[in-house]
């Protein structure tokens, strides 16, 4: 520091909040822990193996992609985004799916959906949901082979055979509630009869059901979501709107045609709705950037989910709904902007009411 030191190249502010991208990702992962542990407990070792495979392959695939592009590998791996993507994908897969489903899905999510579009922050679609949709369309059998909560859990060695050895699952396979209902509809069985013996509100509420690895436990997912809201990582807009988007049509339709449309609890507690509401539609990269935009986004995802569940060819619609709305995000961002201080919604300077100014 002397008379002739060059002018500094720094810029205000000269202080910073103790935050970083890595910390944001880590907080989301912490929020996922309860639901994930519940999944491990409910579905046993194969679930843990599947989750681990997804995480490891995402990191390997990202490292490889960055190397091929000649970009620095370490900072991108350390930000935790690839790990979080893989984690979310694993939670949305059938818990006893073979290892290559997780590996392929993770690699697709990280390389094709994220890095090809320019890396972190540049992807148009939610990587976990895009990968899940790709897997569902390509490998419908593996992606719809569920394990009922009553199935006997394998030991460590048998579990290795389930995940890595291709052991047949026919003996323990079960249908998800949404899938079962859809199948029964095709046989002309109405909702009331289809649900008999397949539906217990308490089991559904706690997550004792056939479903994806981490999407079954509404209380634990809600806990994680509230934690993220409290930590100001996400806001209430998108989750509340998505739940509302499913709840409103569910209430109305069920009131009108109860034997055709599921009730509120049926919709809110099944499929990937809770995981989607708190961890998928809140993905900052692929959702709008204002509160109003996020609300509209969540509401549309909810409505589309209900529509697909009720009228679509697939029993569950969260992933499709999310992808459709991801594509619409730039439009929402274009029209739903905050009002600028001293200007009206159209951007014109406020006019002064001379009388009121007195």
């Amino acid at each position: 520091m002397n008379l002739f030191s060059p002018p500094p190249l720094t810029h205000a502010p000269h202080a910073h909040a103790p935050v970083s991208v890595g910390r944001v990702m880590l907080t989301v992962m912490v929020a996922l822990v309860p639901a994930t542990l519940f999944g491990f407990w409910l579905y046993g070792w194969p679930a843990l193996f599947l989750w681990a495979t997804a995480c490891v392959s995402a990191l390997l695939a990202e490292a490889l992609a960055l190397r091929l592009m000649g970009r620095p590998v370490r900072p991108a791996l350390m930000d935790g985004s690839a790990l979080l993507t893989a984690w979310l994908l694993a939670l949305s897969l059938p818990p006893w799916a073979p290892w290559w489903i997780a590996a392929l899905g993770s690699a697709f999510a990280v390389v094709v959906v994220k890095q090809v579009f320019g890396g972190l922050g540049q992807n148009v679609f939610n990587p976990a949901m895009a990968a899940r949709v790709m897997l569902l369309i390509s490998f419908p059998v593996e992606l719809t082979t569920w394990i009922g909560p009553g199935a006997p859990l394998p030991g460590f060695a048998d579990a290795l055979a389930v995940t890595f050895g291709g052991a047949p699952l026919d003996a323990v396979a079960s249908a998800s509630v949404l899938g079962h209902v859809k199948t029964e509809f095709t046989r002309g069985v109405d909702l009331t009869h289809a649900l008999a013996g397949h539906w217990s509100l308490a089991d559904m509420a706690w997550g004792h059901r056939a479903g994806s690895l981490g999407e079954t436990s509404a209380p634990f997912l809600l806990l994680g979501g509230l934690y993220l809201i409290a930590r100001r990582i996400i806001t209430w807009h998108a989750p509340a709107a998505m739940l509302l988007g499913v709840a409103l049509p569910a209430l109305i339709a069920h009131a009108v045609v109860p034997e055709r449309f599921g009730d509120l609890a049926y919709h809110l507690l099944s499929g990937g709705l809770m995981l989607g509401a708190f961890f998928i539609v809140t993905d900052p990269v692929t959702s709008p950037n204002t509160g109003a935009g996020q609300f509209a986004f969540g509401l549309a995802v909810g409505l589309l989910t209900w529509l697909i569940r009720s009228f679509g060819g697939y029993p569950e619609g969260v992933a499709f709904a999310v992808m459709i709305m991801n594509a619409a995000t730039p439009i929402l961002d274009r029209y739903l902007k905050p009002r600028i201080y001293g200007r009206d919604r159209k951007g014109q300077s406020l006019r002064i009411d001379k009388e009121a100014a007195r």
């Binding site: 970083s20 905050p338 406020l350 100014a357």
Partner: protein, 498 residues
């Protein structure tokens, strides 16, 4: 009192304890004072003293010139030793004109004429005296206060708001001033209210300054000055935010606060007004917060204008460890300086020596569109979108998103988890736009001159042609006349001959 809502804002760590708990201390006179001629918005002052001249404290050193300008006075008695360049309080650290004063240590004030009852002065007279005392906005904007007073009186202001927000972290100069000199501030407030004819006077103070609130409430009792606690939140000290919180009114984007009947002054400005009118003392010193993790004894110093950063740091026990960054002003909007010879000016609210841990320097990461910046922006802008446009060199796109409404408060940069220097982008773009506009004006002027020249040349050529034609016609006429004359002559001759 009912407060009104506002948008955005952040809660940066205050880090005010160190300096807020100590009483204001007067800086002993340094060996030399370097008084810059440009300490305000507007035209620089013009020196009216000569090298070698002895001056008294408060004597005029340089007079304001033009409509928007402010005079500069001697911060102490002594001798003018130089009028020339000195390091400017600007990030470039480039030299700027200043008057060097060698104190004689006697602090002899000028003899001032003080009115027996300042409230008997006419509003115009108060504004004149405020202008002559060189008072500028002491919150940091440094706009000449007299200009604001005159403008407000003419447009008819009903509410006077005194800004005691002091929302910048570290800074406590206004806090201490309110705790220690509340009576003088309230007297200044009443003078300003008298000068603009406002009905209502309100002081907004952040609720993290309970002592200042208590002192001001006590001093204001019986004077119809409302002291209001406002929530501690950055940027509460932004005048438009303060107006919105206290009155619920919004200043139009393309207008001034006077248009909605409100005038905002900093509380330190009110103190300076009281000093100028009540005691006849021009603005020659100010309270500066000396703070930061690298300062041994952070405190508030009453420093004469022209004392250097080195004088202040040394008075506060010097550095403990090597400072990672030196900052003039607060950490949110202040700027770095590297040369300890920079002098304190009227707008210097603080000098900070920050440690590496305090500035939290981190490499920028990619934007994850988390929109924390959107929630933080007090103006209602989309910082992430603006930065994306600027990065792609699309300044027009950034302007459409409201770049010109950005106040550069730094809230977005502060909360950005990716540590993207958003304000840096915006200030770069604003500078680029300004230079583009300047270039456009220059081109326009050049084009006009060129057109005028072409026209002039064409006119000259036309006139020449015309003149030549006229000459030719005249000649032809003359020739014809001559010929006719000759012909007539020859006829005559022939007749004669015949």
């Amino acid at each position: 009192m009912k407060l009104f809502g506002f948008r955005g804002g952040i809660h940066p760590e205050g880090r005010k304890q160190g300096s807020a708990d100590r009483a204001i201390r007067a800086l002993p006179l340094p060996e030399r004072l370097f008084v810059p001629l440009q300490q305000h918005v507007g035209a620089p002052a013009r020196p009216v003293v000569r090298v070698g001249e002895t001056v008294r404290k408060g004597q005029l050193l340089a007079a304001g010139q033009g409509n928007i300008s402010a005079p500069v006075h001697a911060p102490t008695s002594g001798r003018v030793t130089a009028i020339g360049d000195h390091t400017a309080p600007h990030p470039s650290g480039l030299p700027a004109p200043a008057i060097t004063l060698e104190p004689d240590g006697e602090e002899r004030w000028i003899e001032a004429e003080v009115p027996a009852d300042p409230y008997s002065l006419s509003p115009e007279e108060i504004a004149n005296r405020v202008g002559a005392a060189g008072i500028v906005g002491l919150g940091g904007a440094t706009f000449p206060s007299a200009v604001k007073l005159n403008l407000s009186r003419k447009s008819g202001v009903h509410t006077l708001i005194l800004n005691g927000g002091e929302c910048e972290p570290y800074l406590t100069c206004d806090d201490r001033l309110m705790r220690e000199r509340a009576g003088e501030i309230v007297a200044g407030i009443r003078l300003i209210r008298h000068a603009v004819g406002a009905k209502r006077a309100m002081v907004g103070i952040e609720d993290n300054k309970p002592e200042a609130l208590a002192a001001m409430r006590q001093a204001a009792a019986g004077h119809e000055v409302e002291v209001v606690a406002v929530p501690a939140m950055y940027p509460m000290g932004w005048d438009k935010q303060m107006i919105q919180v206290l009155t619920g009114k919004e200043v139009p984007a393309e207008g001034r606060s006077a248009e909605i009947g409100v005038l905002v002054h900093n509380i330190a400005t009110a103190w300076a007004v009281q000093q100028a009118i009540g005691l006849g003392r021009p603005l020659v010193s100010r309270i500066v917060t000396v703070s930061g993790g690298a300062v041994a004894e952070p405190c508030n110093v009453e420093a004469p204008i022209g004392a250097t950063a080195r004088d202040l740091f040394e008075f506060c026990g010097g550095f403990q460890g090597e400072p990672a960054r030196l900052v003039l002003g607060g950490p949110m909007m202040g700027h770095e300086f590297s040369n300890l010879h920079v002098p304190m000016v009227k707008g210097s609210s603080g000098v900070l020596a920050l440690t590496r841990a305090e500035i939290a320097l981190t490499q920028a990461a990619p934007c994850i569109r988390c929109s924390t910046c959107v929630r933080a922006c007090p103006v209602g802008l989309l910082p992430l979108e603006m930065a994306a446009h600027i990065r792609a060199d699309d300044l027009g796109g950034a302007v459409d998103l409201g770049l010109r409404d950005c106040i550069g408060c730094g809230s977005c940069s502060y909360v950005c988890p990716a540590h993207i220097p958003l304000v840096h982008y915006f200030n770069h773009a604003k500078g680029e736009l300004a230079s583009q506009e300047k270039g456009k004006l220059r081109n326009e002027a050049t084009r006009k001159l060129a057109e005028a020249r072409t026209e002039r040349m064409e006119r000259i050529a036309r006139e020449r042609e015309e003149a030549a034609r006229q000459r030719a016609a005249k000649k032809a006429a003359a020739d014809a006349a001559k010929k006719a004359a000759e012909a007539a002559k020859s006829t005559q001759t022939s007749e004669v001959a015949a």
